[in-house]
């Protein structure tokens, strides 16, 4: 679906340099600390920035060569940008009707009603949660084959987050060929939704793994100072010194569970991944 080959984009000291792929019908998550380059990747895929080098293709076609009809098959929700906040939800319905060849107005209206988005209110009068829901709803209401969502749940309460995640789950149920790329700081959102996770650090991919493998094979080991010396370190991805000894991150949970039965071990989570890498 989307192929990024040797993409390079530099801003002063920051340099994004990566290759990645979003396969058909998969949900791919990008995680990383602030400033890791997540939004830069999203903006590059959407053609909002010009890469210094490298190539991005969607369904084998270079980004700049996409026709309007092909662009209409991409849905995007950005965390810091949307329709003018002076427009009403009803205005957006009318605009989308003319903007997209396939706009599912009935779905949009019914979702607005169930998500309690008032049609007659200006966007600037909506709460942050309502605006975030509206951004995602706009992205998914025209039968897109590719959804690109930058921090769709950032800064929202649990209820609003759940509403948005439910919307995305619904998309996956309705259209199993739809590919989704999303970035998030909230690891539980990604763990429950993504098939694959990319970890970005300083503009580079430091880890790419299936979410299932990540959750089943990765672990955090809490090792006392005296035990650390004798620990087999071949499968440790990173180690951090702590007051009690060492905090180690591994992708071979089974190995340590079998060979070091007394070792304190916690299931690997995406948050650990961000903190330990």
């Amino acid at each position: 679906m989307v192929k990024i080959e040797k993409l390079v984009k530099a801003y002063g000291d920051f340099r994004l340099d990566l290759s990645m792929e979003i396969k058909d019908g998969t949900v791919t998550g990008i995680v990383g600390k602030n400033g890791a380059g997540k939004s830069t990747v999203i903006r590059a895929i959407l053609g909002l920035i010009r890469p210094d080098s490298g190539q991005i293709t969607i369904n084998g076609k270079e980004l700049s060569r996409l026709s309007e009809a092909e662009k209409a098959r991409v849905g995007a929700a950005l965390s810091d940008s949307g329709f003018s906040s002076y427009l009403r939800v009803e205005d957006i319905v009318c605009i989308l009707r003319k903007m997209y060849p396939v706009f599912d107005e009935r779905f949009f209206r019914s979702q607005c009603t169930s998500l309690r988005l008032p049609f007659d209110r200006k966007i600037k009068e909506l709460s942050a949660g309502m605006r975030a829901k509206l951004r995602v709803l706009v992205a998914i209401s025209h039968r897109a084959g590719l959804l690109i969502l930058d921090e769709p749940t950032a800064g929202l309460d649990a209820e609003a987050r759940n509403d948005i995640l439910d919307l995305l789950r619904q998309v996956m149920i309705d259209n199993d060929r739809c590919s989704i790329l999303l970035t998030s700081h909230i690891s539980s959102d990604l763990e429950g939704l993504c098939d694959e996770i990319y970890l970005l650090h300083d503009g580079k991919i430091v880890l790419h793994e299936d979410t299932d493998i990540l959750l089943s094979n990765y672990a955090v080991l809490k090792v006392r100072e005296e035990n650390y010396e004798t620990l087999d370190k071949r499968y440790l991805l990173s180690t951090k010194k702590e007051s009690y000894g060492y905090l180690c991150f591994t992708n071979e949970k089974q190995f340590y569970a079998e060979n070091y039965p007394g070792l304190v071990m916690e299931k690997g989570k995406i948050d650990d991944l961000i903190l330990m890498m």
Binding site: R43, D80, S81, S84, Y86, M99
Partner: protein, 210 residues
């Protein structure tokens, strides 16, 4: 393109109250002012409102999302010029209607045919200013472009005054050109400027990163 026009129409209607005040002023002026002034005022106002939609697009980093919608940057620019033209044409027609009604109320006779070249000349004149304003707005944004525009108009005023002084002291010119020739010259100037302005605007938008 239709989606963009719909968006701009709806953004225009956001300023309903301002539109209403200006239209009310036009109605009052229609009773007393000359036709050229009334039509010119309405057409210029409509073009300013049309160009103003760009600032709504730009506000709150709105361009980033807009450029993810199914059109390219060239289409965005093309729509801005088209929207200005549509607004100017609509306002011009409205102005003419007001002028005719106003004249009818005052029971004074008008010869639209005689005034038509002059009235038609308003459209290219106003659109020439749009051709200057659109690329400036796209390049520098709302605030900066306003400053540049003030400086530009100031420069034009100074140059016109200087030109007038030179001409007053210079040799006498032949009689004024016939209105049809003025209209043709204005239209030709507008078309040339529109082409250059459009190309400049496209280049500005294609270079932009969001």
């Amino acid at each position: 393109m239709f989606g963009l026009i719909e968006k701009d129409l709806r953004l225009t209607l956001v300023r309903k109250q301002t539109l209403f005040i200006f239209l009310a002023m036009a109605l009052i002026m229609g009773q007393s002012m000359e036709g050229e002034f009334l039509v010119g005022y309405l057409t210029m106002f409509a073009v300013l409102v049309a160009i103003g939609t760009t600032s709504y697009d730009e506000f709150d980093n709105g361009f980033a999302f807009l450029m993810t919608l199914p059109f390219d940057r060239k289409t965005y620019v093309r729509e801005k010029y088209l929207f200005c033209l549509m607004m100017a044409a609509a306002a011009w027609c409205f102005g003419i209607v007001l002028y005719v009604i106003g004249t009818g109320i005052r029971h004074s006779a008008i010869s639209l045919t005689g005034q038509l070249p002059m009235l038609l000349g308003i459209i290219p004149t106003v659109l020439i200013s749009a051709c200057v304003m659109i690329p400036l707005q796209l390049k520098f944004g709302m605030e900066k472009s306003r400053m540049i525009l003030f400086a530009l108009f100031g420069f034009i005023v100074v140059m016109t005054a200087a030109w007038k002084k030179v001409m007053d002291n210079g040799p006498a010119l032949p009689d004024a050109l016939p209105p049809a020739a003025v209209l043709l010259s204005l239209t030709a100037a507008f078309l040339l400027l529109a082409l250059a302005s459009y190309r400049w605007s496209v280049r500005i938008m294609e270079k932009k990163e969001f």
